[in-house]
């Protein structure tokens, strides 16, 4: 774990990181339970500081907000923290990576406090529309299609997943980064229509998608429906 990153917990809890730094920090959080706990506590402290500022809003705002909610659909729930029960992937899927790098994924819903979903789509489009973008499309084993784009200038990759078949209620698509034969979760595709964008993985790192029980898994429990080495796109 990087101490450097860890000390950003305060700035993160204060929303004082740039979007890129916040992304990096979130990927750090995904791997560090102690850091998640610290961020929760510091965020709580910050919120209490914010509550000191309480001021009654104008009374007419109430009707406006309630009327707007009345016109707005709600998001379905998701299930978290499923028991792992994972098994190792078969060796043929595991391609040793030249260097291990942490894959940073946006679009991970593991932390409700930090993940505005409207931020997802824009970075995806940004990568796909980059002047130096490399793009590739591939069929998935479950009869869908995924497009991948990488942009060296942005240092990012993105996947478009809106052509993946819709899953049943108890299932979710999960992204993985495989480095040195070891899959690490890169997050759930909570909303495949939005896709996902992430930091460009180092050469040789493989990115794969599996279908997992709702809430995701610690390790893959099914064979990937697709996998790709982004540096070769």
């Amino acid at each position: 774990m990087s101490t450097e990153l860890h000390t950003l917990s305060g700035a993160y809890a204060l929303d004082a990181l740039s979007p890129e730094e916040a992304e990096q920090f979130r990927s750090h959080l995904a791997e560090c339970a102690a850091c998640r706990q610290e961020v929760r506590e510091l965020t709580h402290a910050a919120a209490l500081m914010g509550e000191v500022e309480a001021t009654e809003p104008p009374t007419e705002l109430r009707a406006r907000v309630l009327a707007a909610a009345d016109r707005t659909p709600q998001m379905p729930p998701r299930v978290r923290h499923l028991p792992s029960g994972a098994r190792r992937w078969t060796p043929r899927l595991l391609i040793a990576a030249a260097a291990a790098v942490v894959l940073v994924a946006i679009g991970i819903g593991y932390n409700q406090l930090q993940e505005p979903e409207q931020q997802l789509a824009a970075p995806v489009a940004q990568v796909f529309n980059a002047p130096d973008a490399h793009r590739a499309s591939m069929k998935t084993a479950n009869g869908g299609e995924v497009s991948v784009a990488t942009s060296p200038s942005l240092g990012k990759m993105a996947v478009e997943t809106d052509k993946l078949p819709e899953l049943g209620k108890g299932q979710v698509y999960q992204l993985w980064a495989i480095a040195d034969g070891q899959p690490t979760s890169a997050g759930l595709l909570e909303d495949p229509d939005q896709g996902a964008a992430m930091e460009m993985p180092a050469a040789g790192i493989r990115v794969a998608i599996t279908i997992e029980p709702a809430g995701g898994s610690e390790q893959p429990t099914t064979e990937p429906i697709m996998s790709v080495v982004p540096s070769q796109v």
Binding site: L8, G10, S18, H44, L48, L61, L66
Partner: protein, 192 residues
């Protein structure tokens, strides 16, 4: 044992708010209206402090409650209390609003945190005591910790901007923000 009335973290009203969010997740409009009544002053007050302009603060507050409405089913009380969740959304949206449109217009950097005055909401004694406790705990921060935390939280500055404003190295500001919040957390824990 806590002092009477001083219930900072696990107060009864926070339990109510958790329950309200659960009901909102099931589409309960009445619970949503009640939730608005319970937390709108906190959300609006914070938004107003950050974005300054009252009508923009109203817009931010509306966005906050719509996000709460849409995402109530995603709220996980194991990860914190519901009011913190709402305040976190409020802060992020307020900061986004400021960064989107006012990055070059903001003028009063240092003065802001202490010199703004607000109408205190008509509220209960308990809430007033909680506020006093937070203020008291903020006083235990060093000057640089407090300034770093406040410039980031209430002015919406990034830690890089804060470092520039205060003319300090980045790692110093990063550390002061973290240490400041840790001190605030520990002090509030002690006050509970």
């Amino acid at each position: 044992m806590a002092e009477p009335g001083l219930r900072l973290v696990h107060s009864d009203d926070s339990v109510d708010i958790d329950v309200l969010v659960d009901r909102v997740a099931r589409g309960d409009s009445a619970a949503f209206a009640r939730l608005y009544d319970e937390v709108s002053a906190s959300a609006y007050g914070l938004a107003r402090r950050v974005v300054r302009d009252p009508s923009r603060a109203e817009d931010v507050t509306q966005e906050v409650f719509l996000e709460v409405w849409r995402k109530a089913s995603r709220f996980d009380r194991r990860l914190g209390r519901a009011k913190t969740w709402v305040m976190t959304i409020a802060h992020r949206r307020a900061v986004d609003a400021v960064r989107r449109s006012e990055s070059h217009k903001r003028t009063d950097h240092h003065a802001a945190p202490d010199e703004m005055t607000h109408d205190e909401p008509s509220d209960t004694l308990i809430e007033a005591e909680e506020r006093d406790a937070v203020r008291g705990c903020l006083d235990t921060l060093t000057e640089l910790q407090l300034e770093s935390v406040r410039l980031a939280y209430f002015n919406g500055y990034t830690y890089r901007e804060v470092a520039t404003l205060l003319d300090k190295p980045l790692p110093t500001i990063k550390t002061r923000m973290r240490d400041g919040l840790i001190r605030l957390r520990d002090c509030l824990e002690g006050a509970r």
